[in-house]
Structures are given as C-alpha cells and as structure tokens.
C-alpha cells in the first residue's frame, strides 16, 4: 500500500533553506530545522528575530521567499489545504470573534475543521472547562479580559486536536497561574502524541517545556539542541556579582574578565555575570580580587547557567535587550 503523503517522514516539521524578505528587511535568512514528531520544540529569540515569520510560513499564512518547508508531511506551498487539516494555530495576537460567545467561537472553529456538530459542541464545552472559562462561556468575547481572550484563542487552536500545534508566544499576557495551567496542558498534549512548536521570549518557558530548542536571532538559527546541550555551550557555571554601587559596574566587568570571556553587565539589576569553569574554588578568588579593587558586593552567586546565559554567550547580547517600543508592543499584542 502506498504511504500517504502525511506520513512519509518521521519529522513533523522539516524546514530547508527558508528565507523571507519584506522589501529590504530580511526576516528569515536561511533557516534549517527538523522537528521530531510528538515533542515540544521551542523557538527562542528576542523581538524581531523572525519567530512569527517562521510560524506564519509553516501555517501557510505566508509564502516563503525561497527554500522549502513541510508540516506533517505536507508542503507549505503545494499541499497547503491538506496541511491546514493537520495543524492548529494560536498566533501572536488573539484571533477571536468579539460578537460570538466563547462557546460559539470554539464550535465554529471546530465546524470549520469539519467535525460533526455534536462533536464540535462537545469539544467546545470541554475546552471551555479546561481553560477555566466556564462562567464566561456564554458571554460574548468582547466582554473578555485580555488573558481570557488569549485562553479562548488557545482553546480554538486545540479544538481539532491537530497533529501539529503552533503556539506563537502563548503565555504572553497570561497571569502566573494561567501560564502554569497552559504549561501543564502543553505537556499533556505532547504526551498524547501532538507535536508542539512554540515560540517564546521566556527562557524559563523553553527550558521547562521544550525537549529541543532552537535559538533564533536576526533570521537565523544560531544554536539548536536540548536545554542542557545549550547550557553546556556556556562552559561550566556562571559567577554573578551584584554590586552596591552601580557606578562600579564597568570596573567589576573588567575585573571579572580575568575569570571568563565577555562578562555581561546588567545595568538594571546592578549585576555582572561571567561563565567560568566547574571549580567552585574560583569564588574565593573572585571575592578577594573584588575586595582588593574596593568593590562592595551586594550579592554573589555561583550557579547553573540559565538559557539567558546561553543567549548571552551566543549573541553577546541579552535576550531582553530589545528596544522599549518592541517590548510594549509584544505585551499589548498578547493581551489585546
């Protein structure tokens, strides 16, 4: 029996040499990716990295400029319609119908996936419960708060129980509890065999959820691997020094430069961090040298590298080093 196109490869998502330009802006500059079936794959990157662009191409909302991509075995350009039967999308901005109730929204989306009416209704009900919207289920979405809209939008992405799920910054705009609930829901889905591609700017989110992570910056995948593989890139552990006097930050960085490459200065936190070896003995030396330099220490840590540190060592910039306008846009977008 011929293998149906939807099952011809082991990978749920295959991306080859993908580029996308908007006029002069190169949003993607040659992305290669392979996402195994049934895992949560994290796409991690700062504002403007190209995460949304990649998601939009993979969900057939936009054609690529060059290169190819397939999802669930379907080519994004040649088999767009079949592809869309296999996916669910929660875009960066919640897309819900203001004038329909929560239940009606979900039921309609389910019907557009061609589920029978009874089944559509059943799934709408159960998702409304799962996303803690029972009281609001019969209210028009226009009365929803930003976080409620976001949850409704996520429920809509799940309603067809798609094979591959795309979540573009799913937890932006959610309160801590909703965020945790969503994390649990995503983990459950992955256990059930759903492939999830999620983008995030929250390094802890990728760390917690994704079994593999691709770090995207300026339209390129600059690193890929498991969270621990990426952490190994930093090489050992990180020394972080918080100083009392912000005026001494640069001096501190100069001193710490002796212990590892490219110390990073976080002005807001009054902190300088640097990747060092595994030997905890270095701490005594750090304290002594700082003391000699007359630098007052507010706090001192010898810790496992976070993905923040990974990002720093990969790009020389912090992931959060985006301009303010972008950050506010992302926050507003998520809760719109």
């Amino acid at each position: 029996m011929p293998v149906p196109p939807g099952n011809s490869t082991d990978a749920a998502i295959v991306v080859r040499g993908l580029t996308k330009s908007y006029g002069k802006v190169a949003a993607l500059r040659g992305v290669d990716l392979e996402v195994e079936r049934g895992i949560v794959f994290g796409l991690l990157g700062p504002n403007g990295a190209g995460k949304t662009t990649l998601v939009r191409i993979l969900t057939t909302l936009q054609p690529p400029s060059s290169g190819s991509a397939s999802v669930a075995g379907f080519d994004v350009q040649r088999d767009a319609e079949a592809l869309r039967r296999s996916i669910g999308l929660a875009g960066q901005f919640a897309a819900v119908d203001d004038q329909l109730t929560g239940l009606e929204n979900l039921e309609l989306v389910a019907r557009f996936y061609h589920l029978p009416r009874v089944e559509a209704r059943r799934r709408a009900r159960s998702l409304i419960e799962r996303f803690d919207l029972v009281e609001a289920g019969d209210r028009r979405a226009i009365t929803y708060s930003g976080g409620m809209r976001r949850r409704l939008d996520l429920a809509a992405a799940l309603v067809a129980e798609p094979e591959v799920l795309f979540l573009d910054e799913p937890t932006t705009g959610l309160d801590p509890r909703s965020r945790l609930d969503l994390w649990v829901a995503i983990e459950e889905l992955a256990r059930g065999g759903t492939t999830v591609l999620l983008t995030t700017q929250y390094l802890e989110e990728a760390d917690r959820l994704a079994s593999r992570i691709a770090v995207v910056d300026h339209g390129l995948v600059i690193a890929e691997g498991t969270a621990s593989e990426l952490k190994e890139r930093v090489g050992g552990r990180v020394v972080a020094v918080q100083v009392v006097d912000a005026g001494q930050l640069d001096q501190t960085a100069a001193v710490l430069g002796r212990f590892g490459d490219n110390p990073h200065v976080d002005t807001a936190a009054h902190e300088v961090s640097v990747g060092v070896g595994q030997d905890a003995g270095v701490m005594a030396e750090v304290v002594r040298v700082l003391d000699n330099a007359g630098i007052a220490i507010a706090d001192l840590a010898f810790r496992q590298p976070s993905l923040d540190d990974v990002f720093l060592s990969l790009t020389g910039r912090a992931a959060e080093d985006a301009d303010f306008a972008d950050v506010t846009a992302a926050i507003e977008g998520g809760t719109r």
Binding site: P4, G6, N7, R37, G38, I39, T59, T60, L61, Q62, P63, A72, E81, A82, R84, R85, S86, I87, L89, G91, F93, A94, A95, V96, D97, D98, Q99, L100, E104, L108, V109, R111, F112, Y113, H114, R140, D153, A156, E163, A190, R191, G192, G193, T194, S211
Partner: protein
Amino acid sequence: MTVATHLEPTPAAPPRPPVEQPSTGTKLRWAVQDTLLMTRRNLLRYVRLPENLMGVTVQPIMFLVLFTYVLGGAIRVTTPDYVTYLLPGIIVQTMLFGAMITGFGLAQDQLSGLFERYRSLPMARSTVITGRLLADVIANIFVAALMIAVGVAMGFRFGGSVAESLAMPAVAILFALPISGFFAAVGLTVRSMEAMNTTFIVIFPLTFISSAFVPVESMPSWLQPIADANPFTIAVNAARALALGEDATGDLVRTGVWVTLLTVIAVPLAVRAYNRPR
C-alpha cells in the same frame, strides 16, 4: 550490578491515524457547508450589532419620507405619484449601501486579526468572501421587504404581475452583488476603518446623478449624458419598469450586461485582495 548500560531515548509518541484525504464530493460538501457556516456567523453579527443595519434601514426610510413629502410635490414625474417613482430608485440605492456593509464587515474582520485564524483553517479561502456575500444578500432581502412595506404604507402600489413585483427588488439585489465584490476588495485591503469610510464619498454622488430621485430630463443638459450612462440609472429604470408593470426588457438586458461586466472585474479583485500575503 548494572541493570541498563545505556539510557533508552524517550519512547516515541504513539502513532496518530493518518489524515484522510477527502474525495472531490466531500470537498464540495465541505465548501457548501463552510459557506453556510460563515453566512450564519455573519448574520449572527447583524443580530448582535443591529446598529450596523441603521444605515440601510433608518436612513433610507428617512430619505423616502423626506423626499416624498418635502420635495415630491415639486418634482414632476410620469408615474401616478412621486412615491411610486421614488421607491424603486431608493431600493436600488439602499441595496448599494448594503454592498458597502460587505466591505465594512470584511475590513473589521481583517483588521481585528480574525482572518489570521480563518486563513489557517482547512476551508477554501474563498469561504470568507462567499459567506460574507450570502449574508449580505440575505440582509438586503430583509431590507428591501422593509422598504416596500413602508412604501406601501405611503401609497406605493405595484402595477404589474406578482412575478414583476418580485423581480423589482431582485434586480436591485442582483445589481448590488458585484458592487459588494468591489467593496469586498476594498475592505480586504484597507489598513483602517477610517479609510473604509471614504468609500461613501464615491457611492453617494453616483446614486444621485441618476434617475433614482428625479427624471434625467430635468437635469442640466451637460449632466444628462452622465446620468444616462450611469449603470445605476439603468438598474433603477429596470426596477421602476418592473414596479409599474411596464416593458422592462431593454433595461433588464442592459442591467444584466453591467452585472456580468462588474462581476468579471470584481471577483478576481476581491479574491486577490484576500490572498494577498500580509
């Protein structure tokens, strides 16, 4: 004692059933079903936001009343009375205003980001447009019936057969359909609702430089050829002849030609506007 010498990779997720490839018949059924679902959704929005219909109900009725009682006496027409002259014209005009709602509805959905979801769903991309058009045709039927009822209350009487009487609003609705297509293209393209409002400036004079409110012969001679060539005049003349029970063949044929022509231009424009990557 070593039980396992190496760690097994995480067990592979259970295989999912393959996505079935639908037959052509199934696809066709889905297309129809999707359009009906989208139509229902749009009609539901009419019900929940009745103010969207104000422009095509309250306003034309106000026009009908004001024109008939304030200006009607001063306008010389060949019909028995002015309301009989005016009603077919104002119905065609109102159906065109209804066509503008097509554009407004699509602009609203587009700007709210809702199409981001629709475009990722496994329905034909044209569903958004066909479902919109069908809902707006249904709304137009409702509005036309309302206008006729008000007209009858004001003394309007059909002069022809039942078929001709039914054909009068039908011509108006049909004529508005390709115009809806144009507004769909605009609505799918605009980047703000304000931009959408400017379309009113185009449609409004077009409906006045016509035979809808006054006979073309009463206009200055330089304006008459423009009014005569206006496709809106042709549709109004067809609707009026049907209302009076006069021979409408010529005007109907010309209206049909215009509808065909406008459709051929409008549909690709609308589809292209919807498929335009953004």
